[in-house]
Amino acid sequence: MFEARLLRSSILKKVLEAIKDLLTQATFDCDDSGIQLQAMDNSHVSLVSLTLRADGFDKYRCDRNISMGMNLASMSKILKCAGDKDTVTMKAQDNADTVTFVFESPNQEKVSDYEMKLMNLDLEHLGIPETEYSCTIRLPSAEFARICRDLSQFGESMVISCTKEGVKFSASGDIGSANIKLAQTASVDKEEEAVVIEMDEPVTLTFACQYLNYFTKATSLSPQVQLSMSADVPLVVEYRIQDIGHIRYYLAPKIEEEDS
């Protein structure tokens, strides 16, 4: 028996919004420590890694480890049926081929349940090596979303370069070029508005804007976002979800052609 209950359905709704454009289907791996999801997009350019810890749920029970393959478009449709203030409960029997979502309104007057068929997916697991990153940049998530949106008007790819002076995002294309520089904030009243840069070595990498724009769908989950970069390895974009876990996106950089 698996049962997980969240007082605010909005968290789960937002999580789905943050992954459904990138993935069409994914496996939710549940054990007594919580729910994990790890999946690559079809072209194997990016990876989503989601962790929701058991202690972040209002009620969590998982007697036997289960892996539930879900069609994310269907799941998203179901979650759209929940009100933001509703309580959501996910339930499944051991070895079940369906999962049930129960939504309860705050005053308990309305209770709805939706059953969804599970998919038999191959379990794909990626071993992500522990990496020390040369640069980590923390910035307001809305700022990052804005930068990605603005720069994607100029070109398909965006160069992120991190130096002592700060971090520079740039793009160029047919209409011209664009550069956005952010310096570390000297003093801020609110922690969530800060730009914090930790750098051991300068790094410059190129990424596809399209994927970064998919990642910024997670903006509403967290006021801050953290970018981690090292030369020639995938970028990590991490959004912490308050009190319950995080969502991390990995993106393979663009590489210069060797010879062709």
Partner: protein
């Protein structure tokens, strides 16, 4: 024309071996294309008002039109195509080729009949049946590809076999063809529908040989025997044995020799002087150029050369040709998107539950179309 009914058999028994992909997922991949097959496709499909496109003096240009635009489409999606041309047909194929020639003659007669009676639909039908890729078509396509900066590989014998050898050697990612015998030749990844027109919105089907073998429960040698039993280009097959019976027999007896010993040869008559041993050898050790000796180089397109070759007599629109050349050029500049596969280690385990179900299904000897992994 490949292996009779193999793709359907795989779809029924080992559906997880087929993945449906979008063309854009193949960016950065090197892919070998069976040239004669795609030329044939273009001759059939690239038409206007039912007739092939022609130059001023009536020479067909459909194959050039197809090669030019579809190749550009691949390149625009970041794919690096290599065209592999057939060499001399193997001796074993002579019989098959004779049969085809006979069929052409028949079609020709039918066409005459239809022309006399003025039946448009029939005329078109038999016209298409008469389509043949000639030497000249091949030569022109080679010249065009050279101008486009796309490498061409000359196979000593069957192009399929050469493609398969290139994939096996890891020189390229996959072979793109509609003929399933690429798998029989041992190509690890086969793509179908890659060169289809965009308008048809057909997803690319990706077949992985190892999952095919795993799904069918066969070794490569047994798989080759299965293909011979289904019907290949190089020898006849036993009458009265369809795909279902074929896979059952192979699973039970594991080789054609054993099957012949065990079946009632009066009921199921093998062809006279059945040369399955040579056909099998042809699949196992086809005549190919060692992939190590093959160099593939993608170069800049020759815009002026393309205009000179395609416009004028061949009646291509100059502006569109120049645009095409620019697209080819653009795809060569800039950086390519990396993949995570190179950074992280992927381990795929088939869903344990599904496996259990399948085992149960196989035990009951009931073969139903697979569940899960259905196209959306």
């Amino acid at each position: 024309m490949g292996i009779l009914g193999l793709s359907k058999l795989i779809a029924d028994i080992a559906p997880q071996a087929i993945k449906e992909m979008e063309i854009k997922n193949y960016f950065g991949r090197k892919i070998a294309i069976d040239a004669s097959m795609s030329l044939y496709q273009f001759l059939i499909a690239v038409r206007s008002e039912g007739a092939q496109l022609t130059s001023v003096d009536g020479e067909t240009t459909s194959h050039l039109m197809g090669t030019f635009y579809r190749t550009i489409r691949l390149v625009e999606n970041g794919i690096k195509p290599v065209y592999v041309f057939d060499g001399k047909p193997p001796e074993l194929k002579a019989h098959q080729l004779n049969k085809r020639a006979e069929r052409r003659e028949e079609a020709e007669k039918e066409l005459q009949k239809a022309t006399e009676s003025g039946d448009q639909a029939q005329i078109e039908k038999f016209n298409r049946r008469l389509v043949k890729v000639t030497k000249q078509h091949g030569e022109e396509a080679r010249e065009l590809l050279k101008l486009m900066g796309i490498p061409v590989v000359e196979a000593p014998c069957e192009a399929e076999a050469q493609c398969a050898a290139l994939v096996k050697a890891g020189k390229i990612y996959a072979t793109a063809t509609e003929d399933m015998d690429a798998l029989t030749f041992g190509a690890t990844v086969l793509l179908r529908h890659l060169t289809f027109s965009e308008a048809r919105k057909m997803p690319v089907q990706e077949f992985h040989l190892n999952s095919v073998l795993e799904g069918l429960g066969l070794q490569q040698q047994e798989f080759i025997d299965l293909c011979i039993l289904l019907g290949c280009d190089y020898c006849g097959s036993i009458r009265g044995i369809g795909p279902k019976r074929a896979i059952e027999l192979i699973k039970q007896h594991r080789s054609l020799e054993e099957i012949l010993k065990n079946i009632d040869t009066n009921k199921y008559q093998p062809p006279e002087e059945w040369d399955y041993k040579n056909a099998r050898r042809l699949f196992l050790e086809p005549e190919v150029t060692d992939p190590k000796d093959i160099e593939m180089k993608w170069t800049d397109p020759d815009e002026e050369g393309l205009v000179k070759f395609l416009c004028g007599d061949k009646q291509f629109n100059e502006e569109r040709v120049r645009n095409g050349a620019k697209k080819l050029m653009k795809a060569r500049t800039g950086s390519t998107q990396g993949r995570l596969d190179g950074f992280f280690k992927i381990s795929t385990t088939p869903n344990p539950k599904r496996k259990a179900e399948e085992e149960k299904k196989n035990a009951n000897k009931k073969v139903k179309s697979g569940r899960g992994r259905k196209p959306k």
